[in-house]
């Protein structure tokens, strides 16, 4: 499972200005499993993309590599 988190972290790091601030955490609750993507606030727009296009692409690739049924959420960090 951490394989998915590592893969997602890599995909996100490659497309942002602050790769060192990228953290991906797998969270499990009653709604299922979620990969939470934390990025520098300045990079939020990049990770979400126009009309959510980039976030959708990240979800699609993750579903391909075995993360079907795992949510991908982009989370704002407070740092």
């Amino acid at each position: 499972m951490s394989m998915l988190a590592d893969a997602l972290e890599h995909l996100v790091r490659g497309i942002v200005d602050h790769p060192d601030d990228v953290r991906v955490q797998l969270v499990t609750n009653r709604r299922g499993r979620t990969l939470e993507v934390h990025v520098n606030p300045e990079d939020l727009g990049k990770v979400i993309g126009r009309g959510g296009r980039t976030a959708t692409a990240l979800r699609t690739v993750m579903s391909g590599v075995g993360g079907r049924g795992v949510r991908v959420d982009v989370v704002d960090t407070d740092r």
């Binding site: 394989m3 590592d6 893969a7 890599h10 995909l11 790091r13 490659g14 497309i15 942002v16 200005d17 790769p19 060192d20 990228v22 990049k46 296009r53 980039t54 959708t56 692409a57 990240l58 699609t60 690739v61 579903s63 391909g64 590599v65 075995g66």
Partner: protein, 191 residues
Amino acid sequence: MSETLTARNDTPDGGSEEAVVGEAGETRVRERRAETPAEESLVQEGDVAGDYLERLLDLVDYDGDIDLDVDGGRAVVSVDGGEDLERLVGSRGAVLEALQELTRLAVQQVTGSRSRLMLDVAQWRADRRNELSELGSSTAEQVHRSGESMRLQPMTPFERKIVHDAVAEVEGVHSESEGEEPRRRVVVSAE
């Protein structure tokens, strides 16, 4: 030398990136060297894309060789290998399109300019090209015989282009696209 590995210093992964570069020569086939500045930047696009994808393959533990080329004024990156790669293609190439999108963004992050890079995985685009080309030809011939227009199923711009090209080879018919993405489709009509 046309190798533009210095750009690598700007990329995210810092230390681990070095190792990837070190292995690059073993797993990648470099088809040609850059001869013009434009081509050199396309070679650089391929290098950045290759690193991004190679690391992804490592992390998900898929076997794959990455081939870099420059064709028709764009960088072309092909990943070929084991059956696992089908997962990077997905239903109707959806995962492949998404991965191409992310790879272009990763390239843009390093080069600072938009990339038109083409990604293929497990020869999917190549196979799809043949299928669509046949569909275009057979549809054109059918329309030519019957005189009645035919509307094809919605396709991506990449797919429609191939169909249009195949239809253009047949006399007495023409094609155009109608509708809005992602439901845009090719219509073939008699002239």
